[in-house]
């Protein structure tokens, strides 16, 4: 494909081939960049392991995570209790394994509630502009005026402690950032030729916003949400730790750290091992996020 002539430009098959080619090259470059950075590879492996553990939790667990054997409480790590047992005689290893499902569930639910919400608000604000934009963005600014964790704690406390409310509270604290991002993306495309063309063809505002503008914002938003995953998990664990998230006897990691607080001196494993699980998982997401930034950075691509 030495030179593209006018004839080629009208040839649909040719265009499709070129586009496919470009896309394939983009993916290959991404893969090369991913491979080049060991940090990203490690992060990806951590997340894959988490997914596997969550999927196979009942198979991997050695005990029932809820079964209390009070005679065997606070035992140190051993062949039977790999991570020791907690203050109610439950196997910490099995609880950590089952907790991976909760952690994933929280992160995913927050992402699929606050992501689309922010996307919708941002697209509407950016496309309609004027008073609608002004009002929606002021509201977003007000929410951004609160530190995220404090807003989440406030709403979690106000709605009543519990996992569902914690998820809702984190989503409430999370959407404004996405709305701003989606608005910026919308502003960038709203006056482009292809949108004008659809408008001339007679498409309604709703149709343009949700079928033509929204898809353009999607990739940036997905990247941003995945960069936020680690932070979401940390906030959820913090809520659990404060007693405002998942409630006992649920094997939520933050809650488990809090349970073990009183035994930290003599039975360190009760608190520290679930905490290590949080650290590793959040680190996994942040490592990937860090690498993602490089992979998507056009400066890096050139080299």
């Amino acid at each position: 494909m030495a030179e593209i002539t006018a004839k080629d430009a009208l040839n649909h098959d040719e265009i499709r081939r070129l586009r496919l080619d470009a896309r394939r090259r983009y993916l290959r470059d991404s893969y090369v960049l991913w491979r080049r950075n060991p940090i990203t590879v490690v992060g990806t492996l951590i997340i894959l392991t988490l997914l596997l553990i969550a999927a196979a939790a009942p198979l991997l667990a050695t005990h029932d995570p809820y079964n209390q054997i009070l005679a065997e409480r606070l035992l140190p790590p051993s062949a039977d209790y790999w991570f020791g047992s907690d203050n109610l005689g439950r196997d910490i290893y099995s609880r950590v394994i089952h907790g991976s499902r909760l952690t994933l569930m929280i992160a995913i639910l927050v992402a699929i509630t606050s992501g689309p919400l922010g996307l919708m608000i941002g697209v509407v604000a950016g496309y309609l502009g004027g008073a609608v934009d002004e009002i929606l963005m002021r509201v977003a600014d007000i929410f951004l005026a609160f530190p995220k964790l404090i807003l989440a704690i406030a709403f979690a406390a106000a709605l009543g402690a519990g996992l569902e409310n914690a998820i809702l509270a984190i989503a409430i604290a999370n959407w404004p950032g996405y709305a701003r991002l989606a608005r910026a993306e919308t502003l960038a495309v709203r006056n482009s030729d292809y949108i004008q063309a659809i408008r001339v063809l007679g498409a309604g505002r709703l149709r343009i916003m949700f079928l033509h503008v929204t898809p353009m914002c999607l990739s940036t938003l997905i990247v941003r949400v995945s960069l936020d995953m680690g932070a979401i998990i940390l906030i959820a664990a913090g809520l659990g730790f404060l007693g405002l998230g998942a409630q006992p006897p649920s094997p939520e990691w933050g809650l488990m750290v809090s349970d073990g607080r009183n035994y930290i001196v003599d039975q360190w494993w009760v608190s520290t091992l679930p905490g290590t699980a949080i650290l590793i998982v959040v680190l996994g997401f942040n490592l990937v996020g860090d690498g993602l930034r490089d992979i998507l950075d056009p400066h890096q691509r050139q080299s």
């Binding site: 940090i39 002021r138 509201v139 600014d141 007000i142 929410f143 005026a145 609160f146 530190p147 995220k148 964790l149 404090i150 704690i153 406030a154 709403f155 979690a156 406390a157 106000a158 709605l159 009543g160 680690g230 940390l234 664990a237 913090g238 730790f241 404060l242 007693g243 405002l244 933050g254 750290v257 809090s258 607080r261 930290i264 001196v265 360190w268 608190s271 520290t272 905490g275 290590t276 949080i278 650290l279 959040v282 680190l283 997401f285 942040n286 490592l287 860090d290």
Partner: protein, 339 residues
């Protein structure tokens, strides 16, 4: 600059009003009957009814909202159920402790963050660069409450190097309260024993908080240093025969510091939220712990007042950062020059 300042102050006004609305909304969703809390659980129905009228809970929502605003403007945040004192007094009592903690944390974050970032940039892609990247990533991935517990376990319970949680040894007498910040007050009173003890108490919680802030600072310091080092004037300085050390110290660092200063401001704001969990772990009698207790006991007035104060100070910090940035980068104010 004047126009820009006005515009920003107006935005701040809107934001503060919005914060008041959000906190009012917050007080509505709390699943707690404020009357029952005031009257006590055994109060007869007619007392509750009379209180309802007295406190205006029988009024429509918008009337209640305007009364709430009226009280706010007068600086009346109501009384806290847990301490039995006006919320404003509580905040004045607890806020300096948080400020003190955040400041020490900031010193730690800057003290390690900037050298780490600069060295990573100078020795780009070296072992040190990767190491510092990993350290900062671990810093942001660490659950603050967990790190606090682990450090306490090691340095207090096992090694005994640092004192127990709290702000000051119970055997010591607090210096006369001037700023509310123990280290400042004891320095004013020239009470070095108290100063030293207060500092020792602050080391662990401030390290935990500081590590949380370090990552962002190190990252910005690195990338802005990389930017600066590729500039022509750095080459000129090298050609001139300056030693590499002087090139970095005299020509690189000052220019790389501008974006870093902005990041430092933003981090200061985010330390406010990190303080909530850190203070809870270390029994640090600051605003964060006060808020946590309020949230857990559904102490309505304290929740509303405390959240509002945190949000307002957070917005103020952000405003200051924006103004500083505008001052350092005239392009921004120029956009507002026409009004």
């Amino acid at each position: 600059m004047g126009n820009y300042l006005l515009k920003r102050l107006a935005t701040l006004g809107i934001t503060v009003a919005g914060i008041a609305v959000v906190t009012f909304f917050l007080s509505l969703v709390v699943p707690l009957d404020p009357l029952a809390a005031i009257a006590g659980p055994q109060a007869p129905q007619e007392t509750v009814d009379r209180l309802r009228v007295l406190y205006g809970f029988d009024q429509p929502m918008y009337v209640q909202f305007f009364r709430y605003l009226e009280r706010l403007i007068q600086g009346d945040l109501g009384t806290s159920f847990q301490t039995g004192r006006p919320v404003l007094d509580d905040i004045i009592q607890f806020f300096p402790a948080t400020l003190e903690l955040a400041t020490v944390a900031m010193v730690i974050a800057i003290g390690f963050g900037i050298p780490l970032g600069v060295l990573s940039a100078v020795y780009r892609n070296s072992l040190l660069d990767h190491l510092s990247r990993i350290i900062s990533l671990i810093g942001v991935s660490m659950p603050v409450f967990w790190l606090g517990l682990v450090l306490m376990l090691v340095f207090y319970f096992k090694l005994g190097w640092l004192p127990e949680p709290g702000r000051l040894d119970i055997m010591l007498i607090e210096p006369p309260r001037i700023t509310g910040m123990l280290m400042v007050d004891s320095a004013i009173a020239l009470d070095w024993v108290v100063f030293w003890d207060a500092l020792r108490h602050a080391v662990l919680p401030a390290t935990v908080l500081g590590l949380f802030g370090l990552a962002g600072i190190a990252r910005i310091a690195r990338s802005s240093m990389l930017d600066v080092l590729s500039q022509e004037y750095i080459k000129t300085a090298r050609i001139k025969g300056l030693s590499e050390f002087m090139v970095i110290l005299r020509h690189g660092l000052p220019n790389a510091l501008v974006p870093t200063v902005i990041m430092i401001g933003l981090t200061y704001g985010s330390l406010l939220e990190g303080a909530v969990l850190t203070e809870t772990i270390f029994s640090w009698p600051g605003l964060g712990r006060y808020l946590t207790t309020a949230f857990l006991t559904l102490d309505l007035n304290a929740i509303v007042g405390g959240t509002m104060l945190v949000a307002i100070s957070y917005s103020l910090v952000n405003l200051l950062v924006d103004l500083l940035y505008a001052y350092l980068n005239p392009k921004i104010t120029l956009a507002y020059a026409d009004g």
